[in-house]
Subunit: 258 residues, 2 copies
DNA sequence: ATCGATCCTTGACATTTATCAATCCGGTTT
DNA sequence: AAACCGGATTGATAAATGTCAAGGATCGAT
């Protein structure tokens, strides 16, 4: 599949590619190629040795892992974002599996190109460090979210985050099926239903994918969002001098979340 | 507190300092200084803006976080290791608190020195990326450990890891108080006691800090350690061509664990 | 030797979450 | 319209974990 100009533009939206010189960028992209996958495709299994950086340009991808017949979702990615960067930098095996949740368009960049560019272009190298640091901090937030909050509190904060992203309105649309959302929040679908039911006391009304808030303050009092866990404390778009590369891994990796 | 030659040597044990040229290393260290802290000292609170890379040279440090009157331990560090590297790279606030668990010796390196060296010395910059990638993968392992295993399984795997590190013997010494160990494994001290009791069926006998194994195979069958979660699958020391920079964050950050 | 502090253990109980089964609902096919 | 399907909900139950309280072991200081 050949690369269209529009794919190039979207790829360059990534903070660490924006930091690269044109020369570096062109050299990295010269070995890259685009692939389209149907929904439900396993892109990689944990333990696979892969030497490509994956760039999700369209669709969505679930990162997960399993052990002893149990499975868990670690993150859901939306465009434009990358995955298995850490494995590429260290030339090691993937620790997570990746499965498409819908038809997806994915750019595959040879790992060697990335590593060479890091060595050749210190600005690019620094930007990769920033990206990795952001991913790391996203994981720290995710762990705190899981270890410090019960399922209802996680849902409440998820709703507050969505609300912040969808414009502080009192009606939002859930971007995933509820069972996917449940996996993302680390609970069973049954418990997600019950968590929604509990939040009716805080004025949360669910109708399919639509969620309406009638008592935002009560919800916020329960959610108690924190800038040290949640990443929606909008540096307003304008004052965003330095790109925020942090990822809300394990809660939602959203391109707005830079 | 002035820097002794031995401190310099120990600091250089860090993979990313070993990668640096002498010139880079000297420049980074020129602004650094050593501090000694008694046990129980809070080095930083989550949310603090700090611009130092902390290098633990002696003692041990607990990284933790809290929310709504709850607290959790994220990792326990032993020499030689660093913390808040990600915050330094991104010039942002700490997401975790750090408290000394014993009298500790800590080298503090100005963040600006690190960032400048990353830009000036691409080899050093690359090594920092490797370090960050290793920390990231350590956190992924930690999340998998917590979401896929129950408390008894986590303890069983912790014991297997310690056994591997202490030389595949059938008697090991726990390196922490049991309540610290409980926090590290994400359970209450009470449940740690019960988990030990359950493992007596697998031939685990506890006597204070001493743990004896009489049925290693049974224990291993329950623990089912995996190279995709646990990091003790010894690349034997000799074939260790490339340093393994991965950190077992949240389980134990051990200097052997490179 | 005794006291006291700290840590560990144990039991009873509450809470949280998962699991299983049944049902419901919306949309599509026949 | 009837049948059907997948996802979502609800209820009942079980398992895992946390909390509270009491008691026991250990160690150091007096």
């Amino acid at each position: 599949m050949t690369l269209k100009p529009t794919d190039i533009v979207r790829t360059r939206e990534l903070a660490f590619f924006r930091a690269a010189s044109d020369e570096t960028f062109d050299r990295v992209m010269s070995g890259a190629f685009l692939q389209r996958f149907p929904s439900g495709t396993t892109l990689l299994l944990e333990g696979d040795s892969v030497d490509f950086l994956y760039v999700l340009l369209d669709g969505s991808v679930e990162l997960g892992a399993g052990w002893k017949s149990k499975d868990t979702t670690l993150a859901i990615l939306r465009p434009v974002s990358t995955f298995i960067l850490a494995a590429v930098v260290l030339e090691s095996d993937a620790l997570m599996s990746a499965v498409t949740l819908e038809r997806s368009e994915i750019l595959m960049v040879p790992g060697e190109s990335i590593r060479r560019a890091m060595s050749d272009d210190p600005v690019f190298g620094f930007a990769i460090s920033e990206e990795l640091a952001g991913c790391y901090r996203g994981l720290v937030r995710s762990i705190k979210n899981h270890k410090l909050r019960d399922s209802t509190e996680r849902l409440a904060n998820y709703l507050m985050t969505q609300r912040a992203r969808q414009g502080e309105t009192d009606e939002i649309t859930l971007p995933h099926e509820k069972r996917v959302l449940a996996a993302l929040l680390g609970m069973s679908p049954e418990n997600l239903s019950r968590a929604f039911a509990k939040l009716s006391a805080q004025g949360v009304a669910v109708d399919g994918a639509l969620v309406r808030f009638s008592k935002v303050q009560a919800l916020e009092r329960l959610a108690r969002p924190s800038p040290l866990i949640d990443n929606h404390f909008a540096q307003s778009r304008s004052q965003l001098g330095k790109a925020n590369t942090e990822r809300q891994q394990g809660v939602l990796n959203d391109p707005q979340n830079r």
